[in-house]
Amino acid sequence: MSQQQPNRLQAGGRIDRSRRLSFTFNGQTYQGHAGDTLASALLANGVDVVNRSFKYSRPRGIVAAGAEEPNGVVQLGSSEAAQVPNVRATQQALYDGLSARSTNGWPNVQRDLMGLVGKLGGQFMPPGFYYKTFMAPASMWMTYEKYIRKSAGLGRSPTEPDPDIYDHMNQHCDVLVIGAGPAGLAAALAAARSGARVIVADEQEEMGGSLLDSRELLDGMPADRWVAQVLEELAGLANVTLLPRTTANGYHDHHFVTLHERRTEHLADIAPLKDGRRQARARLHRVRALQVVLATGAHERPLVYANNDVPGNLLAGAVSTYIRRYGVVPGNKLVLSTSNDHAYRAALDWQDAGREVAAIVDARPNPTGDWIDAAKAKGIRIITGSAVIEAKGDKRVSAARVAKIDLDAFQVAGKVEELTCDTIASSGGYSPVIHLASHTGARPTWRDDILGFVPTLVKGVSAAGGAHGIYALADTLADGVEAGASAAAAIGHQVLSVELPEVAAIREGATCALYQVPHENPTLRAPKQFVDLQNDVTAAGIELATREGFESIEHVKRYTAMGFGTDQGKLGNINGMAIAARCLGRSIPEVGTTVFRPNYTPVTFGAIVGRHCRELFDPERYTALHQWHVENGAEFEDVGQWKRPWYYPHTVNGKVETMHEAVARECRAVRKSVGILDASTLGKIDIQGPDAREFLGRIYTNKWEKLAVGKARYGLMCKDDGMVTDDGVTTCLGDNHFLMTTTTGGAAAILEWLELWHQTEWPELEVYFTSVTDHWATMTITGPEARHLLSEITDIDLDRDGFKFMEWRQGKVAGVPARVFRISFTGELTYEINVQANYAMHVWKTLFQHGEKYDLTPYGTETMHVLRAEKGFIIVGQDTDGSVTPEDLGMQWCVGYDKPFSWIGKRALSRPDTKRSDRKQLVGLKPKDPKVVLEEGAQIVFDPKHPVPMPMVGHVTSSYYSPALDSGFALAVVKGGQHKMGETVYLPMADGKTHEAEIVSPIFYDPKGERQNV
């Protein structure tokens, strides 16, 4: 077509020659066409070297035309944020402005200095060489490692956040068809016509698979016309979803399949706006299918011969694809080395494109079949019983060395002929793509007749066509129809007949088993024969591994790194296994198989994350008062998923208070006048039923049978191992009606805990639990002025004897129906006002309207923690850690030892370890220096002079500065602490200081509890 694209054909292929696209590779500008992949465009432009191999730095070119490509792995992106590492050029559609670079090679891929190292030093890098060296001196390893790391890796990560968005689509279907080649389309048609919900996913830019470059006719039409007809019918059916550019990456349990749809990667490196709106760069379809048809086709295997990695060595099928689909002949003179008939197409296509075929080298002594006849008819030289044993050339193939080979003796059996050429196409047969089936855990089985593994299928999955070794087009179509029809029928859909297109039968001879081609020299001395191109694994490497005793194929893989690249061994694994089998004198099935794991091809993290990122990473739960907190400058603390006000810093004289200053101010306000806390996040569970009381008695450590209507009580919950798990106040609303409160973080778990016991152990108890956490907003006003404040806006009688501590009343607050609880977590006179959340903002604001004269001060969780700690009230999860019993907390007062039912946790308290008197027990700590605020988490010792390791006897669980005491104070657990009041303990700190503290009662403030009772 143009001078600029020396390998582009004048006509043919599925590209649009009228749409010219410009792109850059390694900084140089090239032209391609709409419909090209990056790989086809590079080949069209005669770019031979696309990369350098990572271990030996050898020049590498394009080998394949699809997902199995090991070499054409490039860095994409025209800006820093748009970088995409490790893009397979064979799967990247060309777009205008595409910018790509090789991932290895310094200073560039053409003149790579590391290549010299590879050439000279390759000898010294057998598999596992790093296990055998870099050990001395030991101190140098981190330095060695730095250089090893630098030379590894392929592309690079962007260093700026991703500008793109991604999303998920949860799909459900009757039949999922994976692959839209001949088998997949036939299966889809059969299933779709039954009315079943069908999804068809195909990884390529266009659906049609091998039909897009086929030489065969369907109903007398070119194959792609049949494809177009079928796609048109499918697209018109409401029960069918077609997903092109969509790779099935993981087959998970019970037919859950993840499909990775690339929605904009064929357009630009950053998703362009669509109708002025952002669109997802990629979408993950999370598909639950009832039936799955795997029509994933087969991968061609290259032959393993010396220097088979020099650019210009390609798969035979890829040669056909580039010529017929993209209108690109990747060279001038071809030698084809094959073990089968099918590959002959490459030579026919090559010659049809007007370029020279030097010879077809067939490993079989007497190949016969229609393709062979066609080649003969075209006058192509066929050399039988032979193979290409070595490629010549450095940055491009310059010749093929061909020789007769003895397959049984594994040796060269004749004179070597050197054929001048620039391209060697090879084919060693086909490997069904069994990856998805093996994700399910089912091991594939080897079939000698097709020289490949076929998938073992769990119920509900079927394979069609090449995916289980059926290759002839007519058979493939029939197999597809059968698979699609059976799948639909299995779930009760009536299947209509599908007439198959007429396809001429093609006579093909058997493939011979050839993996590694023998060389004149033994494998260890021959030039490198590559098995896994991306990881530079050679036949010699595999042989060496087996010599060193690595006999399991898993060992061989791991020792040589075979199959661990981004191509995951699609090209190399079977050849590698076959070589290992030969070295070990076993058959391939004896050597075993390798297990493929998801993903089939790599999947962008962003696509898996979907929109669960940034501000939607995890829900932020808000109370009904959240806006007020934001507007009033609150700093927030994450408590579970809730955003709770932590403290409210004021700006005083243009200076924002520190947390310490704000908290001190908030604490003083509560102790002196009145403060207000948004306590809406506490879990609230409505409990109704005649057995509610009995249930509470079983689930709490303390007693509930006598709690009167109108009263509230603190309760402690344990698990059956005796360890404290939650606490809170539960109120008796009616004789059969209670309101339980739980910790903020424990709400959901406790509701499930109650249901667990009710449903599994005590279904006979008549009781129901319903969460009302979100229904009620809870505002806690606390401090000496609380009663005065509340009395201004309520009709409830707040008289100290009429409405006592640990009681509740209902009435109106600020005109809103409210339940008011007189309980206290600060030790001060406290009312907790509960209103329906929709009214909360009104009530809160009304309190502030009336609160100004009382210096009503909003306070957050930090102040709440200080105030409760001054009173010795615990926070479950802070002062406990799952290893603390009620007795350890000194809360025997909250334990009903003589309750008739052996409540949850009781029995465990009498185990030897829970009975120990020297368990860690909750105490108060008074620092000897009142200015010291001990570190939370500081470890406590009795003997500060003890050498390390020092016996630790406990740790600080809560520690604050108390404005009321004008001193630091702490809660801690200390071994036997409850019997060590007044004793001194030591806290050796990281800065070398050792603090001293006295063990005291955990109640620091108002020990008699007078203030809450006023």
Partner: protein, 116 residues
């Protein structure tokens, strides 16, 4: 990801709606105080851990919030049956044998999608 038939909702639901809660049919001793420490420790901590058929307690946490039981194969992850609280499994390690294809098909028709 499992596809689980909730015996209370009467349909298959995605695993994300459920939480596993360990071995099924663990009964809290009726007289905890008369248990030895050994018996109590066994009740608290010692569970069946079979490689094969396992009876499990699950809860349809994001759904009907009911606890129920699953008989599941711990290697293939095949769910053989689900049943309500208070019911007993019909398939156990003793009675389980990989079924004939016919009966398997019958079950799949009823609970399609649970096999893998």
């Amino acid at each position: 990801m499992f596809y689980i038939y909730c015996p209370y909702c009467g349909e298959h639901r995605e695993e994300e709606e459920f939480h596993p809660k360990g071995q099924a049919h663990i009964v809290r001793p009726k007289e905890p105080e008369s248990c030895s420490d050994e018996e109590w420790g066994d009740y608290l901590f010692f569970r069946d851990n079979p490689r094969g058929i396992h009876h499990e307690l699950w809860v349809h946490a994001v759904g009907c919030r009911k606890f129920f039981n699953i008989t599941r194969h711990t290697v293939t992850y095949e769910i053989l049956e689900t049943y309500k609280m208070g019911e007993q499994p019909s398939i156990t390690a003793e009675t389980y044998a990989p079924q004939s294809s016919e009966s398997e098909a019958a079950r799949v028709a009823k609970q399609a999608g649970v096999r893998a």
